[in-house]
Amino acid sequence: MSDVIDTLVGIAPGSKLAAIRAQRSEARKHAQASYTSLFEPREVGGVAAYERHAIAAFVAGLHGEPKTDAFYAAKLPSGLRAAVAAEVAAAKTKGPYGHFPKGPLSTEDAPGPTWKVSEAGRKALDARLAAAFEHTHMLVFHPRDAASPALQALLDAGWSTTDIVTISQLVSFLSYQIRVVSGLSTLASTL
């Protein structure tokens, strides 16, 4: 069965890494099921397929892991791909940063920017997707800055509560998948 992580890492059947992944066959199967339920859902619900792919391409671009970046970018029509690439170039930074609750941890605060989509990007993406991209940037680079007004901004942009759950899962799942691909690719290079 096709498995996105195997494809992106380049894990061949019968290889050492395939045997290691087989020891965690449930994790392997359900990481793939997570991918399928986000990108080939039984019911698309309130987050359209192109919106899912645009957010995914933005997340992958921000991480800059070359193989996942190319994989998700390839799923977009060229106009949207160019718009996402332009936002990635403007939005890419270092993480994780952000504030802790006020108190002893405040000495560890690492403030950083709250990123906004460019004017051109807002036209290319539309206001709804632009709001999702701004939330995505926070989730990727400074998740500890999250607060309820960020969710209000998504609700105000027209996303439902269920849509917010789906978008949050999508960004968070990719934060996992990209790291697994990066980590296993590194491990593979040493075997």
Binding site: H30, P96, L155, S168, T190
Partner: protein, 205 residues
């Protein structure tokens, strides 16, 4: 004039005390958007919880709004952490989860997995030092290598490289153990983002 549909408002959590340090204490979690009501959940929603007792958790009832993703997420989680077959000992999978949560700043996730790490390793002081001092805390060579690898996988850009693998091998991890560490640290980059962004922790009692 066109009547605009009133937008949904985020929830205002009840009065509570926010934890301001990393702790091994049990914490509550209060959602910012509405979880499903138990009586509205279909068989599919209930099945997505995997453990029936999670119906009492507002976090899982919120994620149950997208049941297929929740179920896949939960089954991925369970195999990475609970599968006892070979690989990294449970205590050190939990250590990777706690270190990742410490770096991302998820006080709730860190509390749960620091408790597990302390329980399974019996190294309460070392776990507490990680919570108190952060990912640079002095532990021992093996735990410091595990924490450093978790940090390198969590940082953006990702800095995990062959030197981390080499260091993990030096302290005794085999390939299966290293793959488990990659799974555990990566998974907490998933979990931390949900916990941090959909609600907030509260002290109990």
């Amino acid at each position: 004039m066109i009547q605009k549909t009133p937008t949904v408002k985020t929830l205002t959590p009840p009065p509570h005390t926010e934890p301001v340090v990393f702790t091994r204490d049990m914490l509550d979690w209060l959602p910012w958007i509405e979880p499903m009501a138990e009586q509205d959940m279909t068989e599919r929603h209930l099945a997505s919880l995997v453990d029936a007792s999670r119906v009492k958790s507002p976090y899982f009832r919120l994620l149950a709004r997208d049941p297929d993703v929740l179920e896949a997420r939960t089954r991925t989680d369970k195999d990475i952490f609970y599968n006892p077959e070979a690989g990294l000992p449970r205590a050190e999978r939990e250590l990777a989860a706690a270190a990742t949560s410490r770096l991302n700043g998820c006080i709730y996730c860190a509390s749960v997995h620091a408790r597990f790490a302390a329980t399974y390793s019996k190294r309460v002081d070392d776990v507490q030092r990680l919570l108190d001092e952060g990912v640079g805390a002095k532990l021992d060579a093996r735990w410091e290598a595990i924490v450093a690898a978790s940090v390198a996988l969590t940082a953006l850009p990702i800095t995990f490289g062959p030197q981390h693998i080499e260091r993990l091998r030096t302290v005794g991890l085999d390939d299966a153990a290293i793959a488990d560490l990659i799974g555990a640290a990566s998974f907490f980059n998933w979990a931390n983002r949900l916990m941090l962004s959909l609600g907030e922790p509260a002290t109990q009692g």
